[in-house]
């Protein structure tokens, strides 16, 4: 009954996903040497790009992991990226722009578009959460509706026109390794939140048994809204980083990111049945997606085959999850 037992058991679970990550990386390393005569891993530039290109998906995955732990799902994160990218970008334009969206609102301090982007995500998340908690709509449908609506709003906002000429202070958010740092910071914050706070305990409890959670005095509806708002904020932040990095806002941003985010969570061991999942697993799952994308590009696979393999890996991850659960039940 020692603290160590708990730690050991938790780490063991991540160890398996970590092994998968290492195995995939080593396969690419081996292919790299034999086909291209070049190292896959020992290239710091490649490693940075590898994480950089999944750091937005990683941000979304941190949110969607929490949603899935409550027994829900979030299909709207990719569209929220687009909507908040548009809104943030429209408030980050320089006064030199003759066709600014809001000519009166140019040259604002960079914090304004950042907060506006995050608030956009929070609002979308609040609507998701309220629909799920206070009506009988299943999370799949509520967030599917938000996915379509938010994408539509992103397009309607400027009638499909991209928003460009953003201020330097704003675009700096997307420069260099900063998106990776934002991803890592969010991962650490929510790793701690899930493991050590009341918020985390309640999140797991609701996913494991909502009725029992209610009987234990947890306000299930309010907590669900909170979880979806947090997921929305992370998607909003994803939109800010995306638009800063591209130095523009485009309605097509974040397309199908929601599926990559769900895939990262599931590969990382989050159970779609709810009650089970950890941010550390999701981070590894995100990196697995990044390694696969980089790896396929590195060995010269074309993009179509990348998608085929990615699809197979996602399904295998879920099959493994089901298998693990069955084994546990019969044990």
């Amino acid at each position: 009954m020692s603290v160590q037992t708990r730690g050991r058991r938790r780490r063991w679970h991540e160890a398996r996903i970590l092994l998968v990550l290492i195995a995939i990386a080593l396969v690419f390393e081996a292919i790299g040497w034999s086909v291209r005569g070049d190292s896959f891993l020992f290239n710091s530039q490649r490693l940075l790009v590898m994480v950089l290109q999944v750091s937005i998906v990683g941000l979304l995955a941190i949110g969607v992991t929490q949603v899935i732990i409550t027994g829900g799902i979030d299909l709207s994160s990719g569209s929220i990226v687009a909507l908040s990218a548009m809104i943030a970008a429209s408030l980050a334009q320089t006064s030199g722009n003759a066709r600014a969206v809001f000519p009166a609102l140019t040259d604002l301090p960079f914090i304004v578009p950042v907060l506006a982007g995050i608030a956009t995500g929070a609002a979308a998340g609040a609507i998701n959460g309220a629909l799920i908690a206070f009506t009988a709509i299943p999370p799949f449908i509520a967030t599917l509706g938000m996915m379509v609506t938010a994408r539509g709003l992103a397009r309607y906002y400027t009638r499909g026109q991209p928003i460009s000429l953003l201020s330097d202070t704003y675009t700096r958010i997307g420069e260099g390794a900063l998106p990776v740092l934002i991803f890592v910071a969010a991962a650490i914050i929510f790793y701690i939140a899930l493991r050590y706070t009341r918020y985390g305990k309640f999140t797991y409890a609701i996913g494991a048994n909502p009725q029992a959670a209610r009987v234990s005095g947890i306000d299930v509806g309010r907590h669900l809204v909170l979880v979806y708002i947090i997921a929305g904020c992370l998607s909003g932040l994803g939109g800010v980083v995306t638009s800063a990095r591209a130095a523009s806002g485009q309605a097509g941003m974040g397309m199908s990111y929601e599926l990559d985010a769900i895939a990262a969570a599931v590969i990382g061991g989050t159970s779609l049945a709810g009650g089970i999942g950890r941010i550390s697993g999701t981070v590894i799952g995100t990196i697995i997606l990044g390694v696969m994308t980089s790896g396929f590009t590195f060995i010269g696979f074309d993009a179509y085959i990348q998608d085929i393999v990615k699809g197979v890996v996602i399904v295998l991850a879920v099959v493994a999850d089901q298998y693990r659960q069955r084994k546990r039940r019969t044990a």
């Binding site: 009954m1 020692s2 603290v3 037992t5 708990r6 058991r9 050590y196 706070t197 009341r198 918020y199 985390g200 305990k201 309640f202 797991y204 409890a205 494991a208 048994n209 009725q211 029992a212 959670a213 209610r214 009987v215 234990s216 005095g217 947890i218 306000d219 159970s271 009650g275 089970i276 546990r328 039940r329 044990a331």
Partner: protein
Amino acid sequence: MKYLLEADLIRKEFPGVLALDGVSLRVRPGSVHAVMGENGAGKSTLMKIIAGSYQPDAGSICVRGQACSLPSPLAALNRGIAMIHQELNLMPPMTVAENIWIRREPLTRMGFVDHRALRQQTLDLFEQLRIEIDPDDEVRALTIAERQMVEIARAVSYHSDILIMDEPTSTLTEREVEHLFGIIAGLAAAGKAIVYITHRIPEVFRIADDVSVLRDGRLVGTAAVAELDSDRLIGMMVGRALDQLFPKEHVPLGDVVLSVRNLSLAHAFADVSFDVRAGEILGIAGLIGSGRTNVAETLFGLTPATSGQIAINGVVVRVDSPRTAMRHGMAFLTEDRKDTGLFLWLDVLDNMEMAALKSRFVRRGFVREAEARAECSAMAGTLRIKTPDLEERIENLSGGNQQKALVGRWLLTRPRILLLDEPTRGIDVGAKAEIHRLISQLAGAGAAVIMISSELPEILGMSDRVVVMQAGCVTGILDRADASQVSIMRLAAN
């Protein structure tokens, strides 16, 4: 042929429980045979054996004088035995006719389902049974009573002449019950045998020809209903020894802690009033569906009352959520461990600390893990919860230990009022005795305890007073001295 169905000396053992110990049942053609007994007496197990769902460990079954084995429900169906389940086995999105004739649909020459013939043969069947339901209605649009009719029709469509009904009236209105009884009488008149499980004594006298009573896996006796009266039937049902129980210690009672006046919840119970004092255990007895669980759920704020008053320590309070109930010092151990109690995939520690987390183990949002662990560990020791460590998933614990962990969850909230719904259901005798001792100690320490139980010996052994409920009303409050199995049964079933 004297008996349509003969089950002889049936024995069935589950791990740790002897569910049936040499039980025999003989059912005459053209008769309604009632089967009665307390919860856990073995009625459902016996019916599942007759319907082919369970295999007996010993004993034989004869249908129409022929010995036969029934390895599956389908085999039983082919022998003419059909069971109308308590949880109805219909496919809600399909039509009535499709449900009845599934797997046996009339086909056209092209091999498509012949919907006209399907409708017609359903109408013929319904006419014979005097059922008025449109065969093309979807089952999900039907009432529970109508669904039951569809199940009966389906059973008859298999030319079954032995129909087993497991408490068919428990969810029906009075008029629906009348209709059902009409159909049952018609089936009996047509020479079929109906085995009818019920808790309700008046129903036995209303429709049954014979009655068999089970108790603790044994047959107490079979008798013709015409030769019985209700007192003798109650006498057969009760009379279990009060041994192997831990009776409540005598403690002086304190002030009234919880006072309930005219508490009502629409469609569940009405005008419930009682007081509970510090140190007192108030038992609530009543059959399933009598509203006893609803009262506890309303007291705890899960289903706020539609009218009436709850006062705690003399102050009238409004309890509209479990959180307010907990703030007033209440704790609620629910009836169904798996459904509303356990977080099966979480560990013992998480399960135990969850209710007290907010009020005791959190500072600025962070869980004080060390303190929670120490408290849970101490509680697990006091309750003698057997687990390798607190990180074990709770689903790997035995039922008794799971229940103790849930008791621990509530004790950690330091409640002054304990609502216990079936606190010892489905756990072994040893764990039962320990939980009884614990409840008694809690009362001794000044808690007010309300204990709901289907087991009369438990009610009688533990309670200072007993509230008896029937059909959503309190039919009597008995002092310990006046409470007996017979006096409670009279108030609960008559």
